[in-house]
Amino acid sequence: MNVSELLGKPVLDLSTATTVGRIDDVVLDVPGRRLHGLRVGKSTGAGEWLAWDDIKAVGSDAVTIDAVDRVGAIPAELPGCWLRGDKALGGRVLSDGGRELGSLTDIDLDAESGALQSVVLGDRRLEADSLQGIGTYATVVRDPADR
């Protein structure tokens, strides 16, 4: 499952069968190598934050939750930046050797666990453990061997 597929998906509250909002951004926990949470745009809930662990399922057409109170206020402390809001997606990718590798096309996640699977740069895929950080200037990955 790519992050780009997640963006735009409706969040469906299974207890009332209503749409709470649509996912418009995500935060990655880079040291933990997994998806931390999502922002629910135009949310009808108490806030716009949906932690990954509070999701019931990610389907092809919707992300489901079992109650609307799963959606709450955005935490003050986040382990990473907003992939879309901070322009990480589509932004610059640098190797830890200081070489520009291209731009970040997408991030591939495990749909069950939210674990990071690979970092997608155009038609290249880099292993999840090569990711060093996602910052305001660039996404940093370990220098791939093919130079």
């Binding site: 880079v30 640098l94 190797s95 830890d96 050797g97 200081g98 070489r99 520009e100 060093q132 950080g133 996602i134 910052g135 305001t136 200037y137 660039a138 996404t139 940093v140 130079r147």
Partner: protein, 190 residues
């Protein structure tokens, strides 16, 4: 493969932490010509008209120097410092515009830049305007390899006469020239 860059190529490069944030950009590169090493970088603020920062980046703090960025660990604390104290007299600092003379007394040219091996921050050679080059042919540059021990620099920069045989006209072929020159030096001393 050696990654060779000119000193002036580094000026303006962003200084980026491994977590992906840009903290400064390179204002100037400080060398210790006597030891043939980069001492560090002075920095500018990261903006269009970035002012000079008091903080500097020393060589030990740098994680890697690449063609597109200078990488530093996320936990580096930049500290204000003055590099002048670290270089000693004639051997430190500015070699740009110095004349290069061989130990046999022949002027090779004038230094226009230094060539750095980005792997270890050492100076592997100089970019020179050849002395026999008429002024009207602008832009032609030669690259002169240095022995591993570095050259003596004072009033002029003294290099071994044999270095001239390994002059190369582009940076791409220069890495090989440096290697073969240094190999030849090692072979000769045995």
């Amino acid at each position: 493969m050696k990654g060779l860059l000119r000193g002036t190529d580094l000026v303006g490069l962003p200084v980026v932490t491994l977590t992906g944030d840009d903290v400064a950009e390179v204002r100037d590169v400080v060398f210790d010509a006597g030891h043939g090493q980069i001492v560090g970088f002075t920095l500018n603020k990261r903006s269009r008209l970035g002012r000079r920062l008091k903080e500097v980046l020393t060589r030990e703090q740098i994680s890697a120097v690449g063609p597109d960025a200078v990488m530093i660990p996320a936990d580096v604390q930049l500290e204000a410092a003055d590099f002048v104290e670290q270089t000693d007299g004639d051997s430190g600092g500015d070699v740009i515009a110095d004349r290069v003379i061989t130990d046999t007394g022949v002027v090779v040219g004038t230094v226009t830049d230094v060539v750095i091996d980005t792997g270890d921050g050492s100076i592997v050679g100089y970019e020179v305007v050849p002395a026999d080059e008429p002024d009207q042919r602008k832009g032609r540059r030669s690259y002169l390899p240095l022995p591993e021990t570095g050259a003596v620099s004072g009033e002029a920069l003294i290099v071994p006469a044999a270095a001239v045989d390994y002059v190369s006209n582009d940076l791409a072929g220069f890495a090989e020239a440096v290697d073969s020159y240094r190999d030849a030096l090692r072979g000769g001393s045995r």
